[in-house]
């Protein structure tokens, strides 16, 4: 288990203890000003490449018609006249509002079901001498290694009559085998004596799971739950494959149609007395799709490196 512990330590502070203080060790030579300048420049460029798109998308979404016209109808960096009319238009009924509700619904329901199924399976596999433990573990590992192709998966979903149903966005991705392995590794780390004494006191395995395992596993449940939630919120591929009626569209399909393919957004799609500029509307949709990710990001960030490393070591 040393590797696992090391990786846990490495979670936040991904550098060696000797340099954790942020000070240069005595044996290291003074940094050369030219190299420092080159490094600094390279990092500034990298940061700008990530930050500028976000910034200008947000700026354009709150820019009014005059600012956008001044920018030649293109993206804005500094909105002079700020207005939230695009958000009001997009969110007060119409196709985008419906898509937001649908995506939130799928994300919430899907994440809860996925967590329950994953935790149940992981708990089963974490118990020593569980009935059918070996074959089911093989089943999970096999699912990590071999992925079925697109066509057979589609045909199976079709065979189950799930086409054009929101369940087609949840059931096929209900359990991520990799997450099962990560969670199982976590459950195995828990003090096993607790389970034994509880079992001697007559607790059923369900009681042990709900009263002992889950309360001790809040961290891993949060991480895996967030991973599932981000995947459900972002899901585009399955939505494109399985959802046909436009009134069942989740956010990803709305994004593709109105932002990527730039289909005109008119009075039928949003409700506004004066239609805000197309570009602002598009950017408002984009921002609405990004914001949930930005909100959970700090939580994700605190834990994900750990999750990735457990998987890498145990998987």
């Amino acid at each position: 288990m040393t590797t696992l512990e090391q990786s846990t330590v490495a979670k936040d502070r991904v550098s060696a203890p000797a340099r954790a203080s942020g000070k240069r060790p005595p044996w290291m030579e003074k940094p050369n000003p030219v190299t420092q300048a080159v490094k600094f420049l390279a990092l500034v460029i990298c940061v700008a490449l990530v930050v500028i798109p976000f910034w200008s998308v947000i700026a354009t979404s709150i820019a009014d018609q005059t600012t956008i016209n001044a920018a030649g109808g293109g993206m804005v960096m500094w909105p002079k006249g700020v207005t939230f009319s695009s958000y009001a238009a997009v969110l007060s009924g119409g196709v985008v509002t419906r898509a937001v509700v649908i995506s939130v619904g799928i994300t919430v329901v899907g994440t809860l079901l996925s967590l329950a199924a994953t935790a149940g399976l992981a708990y089963w596999l974490s118990r020593p001498n569980a009935l059918l433990g070996k074959p089911v573990l093989m089943l999970v590992l096999g699912a990590v290694l071999f992925s079925p192709g697109l066509i057979p998966t589609y045909l199976v979903v079709k065979q189950f009559n799930l086409l054009d149903s929101w369940w087609s966005l949840i059931l096929p991705v209900l359990v991520n085998a990799f997450n099962v392995i990560v969670m199982r590794a976590f459950f195995q780390e828990l003090p096993q004596e607790l389970f034994e004494s509880a079992a001697i006191d007559g607790a059923s395995s369900a009681t042990i799971l709900f009263r002992i395992v889950l309360p001790l596993s809040k961290a891993v449940m949060a991480v895996i739950g967030l991973f599932y939630a981000v995947a459900y919120w972002n899901a585009f591929f399955n939505a494109m494959l399985y959802i046909q009626s436009t009134d069942k569209w989740p956010m990803a399909l709305v994004l593709r149609t109105y932002v990527v393919n730039q289909t005109t957004i008119g009075g039928d799609q949003v409700s506004a007395e004066v239609l805000p500029p197309q570009l602002s509307l598009q950017m408002a949709i984009l921002v609405i799709a990004i914001v949930p990710i930005l909100v959970v990001y700090p939580f994700l960030q605190r834990h994900f490196a750990k999750g990735v490393m457990i998987g890498a070591v145990k998987g």
Partner: protein
């Protein structure tokens, strides 16, 4: 205990293993109204694309292979370089802040990434707005067939290069610091320490990641490409995954596209096994032990 695990196991069986079995359609003249059981068996005739030189298939295969080579050569080493750059910074807080920025794009969906790129580099995007305002010629980047592979590659770098640094940073942090100290005392320069200590310590990990990369080398970004296929056309953008989608789901040629999908999967497994053999031959650990 069983009861709690059954829904999860059932989901894997129904939506993972059943479709794996469903690959039998590669050997059938699959008709949706007949289903898996009633459709006629046709042996290997669906695999004719492999030897009769179907030009559309060859085009898709060619584009896939080019993208694989580009992505392995250009995209794959970027996280290592970025990780070395981050690691060379002294300030711990600065490093953590930069990591937060660089990891973020990984969590955005491809739809969002493609939309962001359009708004930045498209004909009415930020770059061109800026160029027009300064009386410079407009750069056509999005929707140009010749630039499509470069565009897809830069998107892949933008989205995942930062995320890819995690595993390298963790590996770098496990290198024994005393090696560096001893080398410095013996007069090794920072560059020599990088070449002689850091890089050799990361070799095993690099090879492991390369093997895993090979396994998915025929998958070069389905969502990303299908989203941008319209303006650039099939010739420049079709890859195996989109070929399967366009011919199977859209075109209804179930058997043939199933066969291409199966071919892709089998090649992936063979590449991993082969690359692993090669790694063992060179005395590396690879993905699994001998």
């Amino acid at each position: 205990m069983l009861l709690l695990g059954i829904p999860g196991a059932l989901a894997l069986i129904l939506f993972h293993y059943l479709p794996l079995l469903g690959n039998v359609i590669a050997f059938q003249d699959y008709q949706p109204y007949l289903g898996f059981t009633e459709s006629e068996w046709v042996g290997f005739s669906n695999f004719a694309f492999l030897w009769n030189g179907n030009p559309e298939f060859l085009n898709a295969l060619w584009n896939t292979l080019i993208l694989t080579v580009i992505q392995t050569v250009l995209v794959f080493p970027v996280p290592l370089v970025l990780a070395l750059l981050l690691n060379s910074l002294a300030g711990e807080r600065l490093k953590r802040l930069l990591q937060s920025v660089f990891y973020l794009p990984h969590f955005l969906s491809w739809v969002i990434v493609v939309a962001l790129f359009q708004q930045m580099l498209g004909n009415a995007g930020m770059l061109n707005t800026f160029l027009v305002q300064h009386d410079l010629p407009v750069l056509h980047i999005i929707g140009v067939p010749d630039l499509f592979k470069a565009l897809v590659t830069s998107q892949a770098i933008w989205k995942d290069a930062g995320w890819g640094t995690i595993i390298f940073l963790a590996a770098i942090s496990r290198i024994d610091q005393e090696q560096y100290e001893a080398a410095a005392v013996d007069g090794a320069t920072a560059w020599q320490r990088l070449i002689n200590i850091t890089l050799p310590s990361l070799k095993g990990l690099f090879i492991l990641l390369l093997i895993l990369r090979l396994g998915s080398s025929l998958s070069v970004g389905f969502e990303q490409i299908i989203l941008q296929q319209g303006p650039v056309g099939i010739q420049a953008s079709e890859v195996l995954d989109t070929w399967v989608y366009n011919n199977g789901i859209i075109g209804g040629n179930w058997g043939i596209s199933g066969a291409v999908g199966l071919f892709k999967g089998v090649v992936g497994v063979l590449l991993v096994v082969g690359a692993n053999k090669l790694a063992h031959a060179f005395g590396e650990r690879g993905v699994y032990e001998k």
